[in-house]
Amino acid sequence: MTKILVADDSETILLLMRTRLELAGYEVEAAVDGQEVVERIDPNSDDGPDLLLLDAMMPRKSGIDALRELRAAGVETPALIVSAHQTPDDADAPADLEISGYLTKPIDFDALLGAIAELTEKNAA
């Protein structure tokens, strides 16, 4: 089953994401900040998540900073960044992090599920 690691500092949003993604048939792991994301992913393991869905702004470590560390460690898992901001400009994300897409809150789940399907199928193929 396709595994998605979701990180958000709001438990309500984690619950929402988990419910919607599980309903769509994905396996969901949850993390409350970027630090936990980094700790959960072993760069040398093949058993990691197939997709990262990271909130751009979280306490302790942001989704952007976590992704930066993961990319530096050689993790190539596709990543979607969720931001409360409206445009990528405001999320202040550098271009070299191989971010597959941005989502703004409130989340358009139809669009999100479409993007996830596309990314995970492409990766699986």
Binding site: I13, H85, G101, Y102, L103, T104, K105, I107, D108, L112
Partner: protein
């Protein structure tokens, strides 16, 4: 001087009159002597002497009177001259600082809060100058405080809109979850959830609009113009809006001139503006109204206009139509769901593109909004925007 002169005249005149009186008495005595014939020669001599004496006295009186009049006149003239000189001196002393004050007041009114005057001149003028400087200093302080407040306000709106998005995401997301199970809900529950979702969408719109305006105020509203074909853009807007206008039996027609040049715009932003204009036309017009969207070449670019035959906008409202939170009277229609910010944002966005937006309307006949967009460099090639995709509309209309 004059007063003393007049006083002296009065005293002297008394003396003269006494002297004349005494002269008469002496003459009378001499005349009595003459009549008695006691000493006629001496008496005659006395009479002549006293007559001459009195003539002399009378001359003296009129001479003194004349002198005094001259004296008084001289005094008056001298006084007037002195006053005039004093006045001229005063005016000269006041003119320079007053002119400086007028100049500084003009600069201050023109927005130069650092305008000050050199304090000097006549004491009243100096006081005025000092008061002016104190007032200007206070204004300057207020202006800098206001700038700071403006920045704080912009920051606040940005942060607030950011912070509100997370709870809104939950409310909307869970309401959508409920709707996924609408088959197990009662009609009343479905209706309730629909109301929640409607209001979520309205809140998102409000947040997006407020954010756009705060960015615009902070000079942080940015656009990425690309050479764009206007026709597909306009067609896309009309396609998007068709369902809504048809639900009110309104006719939505499109007229695009052939061979429109490329415009230099950010397509998403122009779509946002046009959707806003057509939405307004739709929401403020009654059922079976007609709305026309047209695009044509104009002197200074491409002109896209949205015309409706709705109720129109009264002149007093039309004047403020592009200000924020100014909304038309919904009148008979109950569909109006705007935020009162759409036109203010549209204006900011169009101007950011270097274009113009205008509105005219005749009450009872309809309204007509025109957006003029700058054409792209004829050499430019239409390019697709590159970069990381933004997934979903993020609540954007």
């Amino acid at each position: 001087m004059t007063v003393i002169g007049v006083g002296r005249l009065i005293v002297q005149r008394q003396d003269y009159e006494n002297s004349i009186e005494r002269s008469y008495q002496r003459e009378m005595g001499a005349r009595v002597q003459l009549a008695e014939g006691t000493n006629p020669d001496a008496a005659r001599a006395t009479i002549n002497r006293e007559e001459a004496n009195r003539a002399h006295l009378r001359d003296s009186i009129s001479g003194d009177t004349r002198d005094t009049v001259i004296l008084v006149a001289c005094g008056l003239i001298a006084g007037l001259l002195g006053a005039l000189l004093l006045f001229v001196g005063l005016i000269t002393a006041m003119r320079r600082p007053l002119e400086a004050l007028v100049g500084a007041a003009g600069r201050l009114a023109g927005g130069d809060r650092s305008a000050r005057v050199e304090v000097g001149g006549v004491s009243e003028v100096a006081t005025l100058g000092q008061a002016f400087n104190e007032m200007a200093a206070e204004l300057e302080l207020e202006a800098s405080e206001r700038d700071q407040l403006d920045r704080m306000k912009d920051e606040f709106v940005l942060t607030a809109s950011h912070e509100l998005r997370s709870p809104l995401t939950s409310v909307q997301g869970f309401a959508e979850l409920l709707m996924m199970e609408r088959d197990s809900l009662t009609p009343r529950q479905v209706e309730t959830v629909e109301i929640i979702l409607d209001n979520c969408r309205h809140l998102v719109r409000l947040l997006n609009d407020l954010l756009d305006l705060a960015r615009s105020d902070a000079g942080r509203l940015s656009i990425r113009p690309q050479p764009t074909r206007p026709a597909p853009l306009v067609e896309d807007v009309v396609r998007t809006m068709r369902a809504q206008t048809e639900s009110s039996d309104q006719t939505l027609t499109l007229r695009i001139d052939p061979d429109l040049p490329l415009v230099n715009v950010e397509a998403d932003r122009i779509r946002q503006i046009l959707v806003n204009l057509v939405t307004n036309a739709h929401e403020y017009s009654p059922e079976r109204a007609s709305i026309q969207v047209s695009a044509r070449v104009a002197d200074n670019g491409v002109e896209i206009s949205v015309t409706d035959n709705g109720p129109g906008i009264p002149p007093a409202q039309l004047e403020h139509i592009f200000e924020r939170f100014v909304r038309g009277d919904a009148g008979l229609t109950q569909r109006v769901g705007g935020t009162g910010l759409g036109l203010a944002i549209s204006k900011s966005l169009v101007e950011l593109h270097g274009g113009t937006i205008t509105a005219d309307s005749v009450v009872g006949r309809g309204s007509h909004f025109t957006v003029t967009l700058p054409t792209a460099d004829p050499e430019a090639v239409e390019t697709a925007p590159v970069g990381t995709p933004v997934i979903g509309e993020g609540g954007r209309r």
